[in-house]
């Protein structure tokens, strides 16, 4: 039934509305007295150097994002697996299969760990 998804839509619409309203109302109600020093980027009390949008971020963020995507896709496959695992005719097979699946990806995790991709220097 399509109508079952209406609460999801209402919920996400309400959440988006609330988020937008909080930002909007606070921007109306808050006092604005900007001056030059106040508008500079805050860098732990240091004088700001250069711009933030000039690619000074570490490539390390990128590798973390890639790892996140891969494990995200992995968890996605857990969803149909969890739904059918109760079925006796395929439960054992599905159980073993999922462990192989996770095992292969665990090799990748171990590799990333060993190569220092998870360290933050």
């Amino acid at each position: 039934m399509l109508l079952n998804y209406l609460p999801v839509l209402l919920m996400s619409g309400f959440a988006a509305f609330m988020a937008g309203m909080i930002l909007y109302v606070s921007s109306i109600l808050s006092p604005h007295h900007p001056y030059r020093e106040k508008l500079t980027a805050w860098e732990c009390g240091m004088e700001p150097v250069g711009d933030a949008d000039t690619g000074h971020f570490r490539v390390h963020f990128f590798i973390i994002a890639i790892l996140f995507i891969l494990f995200d896709v992995e968890t996605l496959f857990l969803l149909p697996w969890a739904v059918v695992i109760a079925d006796k005719s395929i439960s054992l097979l599905a159980y073993i299969e999922m462990f192989i699946f996770i095992g292969v990806l665990a090799v990748g995790l171990v590799y990333a760990w060993a190569k220092g991709a998870l360290d933050w220097i």
Partner: protein
Amino acid sequence: MERLFFLIFASVAVVSALCVVLFRNPVRSALALMLCLLQVACVFVLLRSPFLAVVQVFVYVGAVMVLFLFVVMILDIRQAELEAFFPPRNRWLMYAIIPVITFEFLLVILGTSFEGFGPGAGGETKVEVIGRALFTEYLLPFEVVSVLLLVAMVGAIVMAKKRWD
């Protein structure tokens, strides 16, 4: 009623897709793309494919957008830097390619009869059906996916390692 919802989602998707192209600030483009992908997820629900909608939100809105934003932060997005990749003197080539691609897309869209499209006859595709198919009929492709993800992981680490060393 369903048609009304479809029209709402489709028009918001088109407008946000235009915003992706027209906004000057890449972070705003990324946020507009997020809205566009959410609308597509809603259309998937209307097409009776809730699992696909979850995949859309989970992978595209969640993970791929994080990747996009990180790439935007890592790359130097100032005009001068971008012009090194797209020199102004080669712009005519770009202007020549765009009509060709537009024409191609129009040809494909207008040439397709959308007869078999739309929600399937059997009603909603349940997650259970997908799970059963995945663990009986498509067992090997499922395991190949894990190897594919492993290759992607190793490849990304090897490529990025050169940069951070």
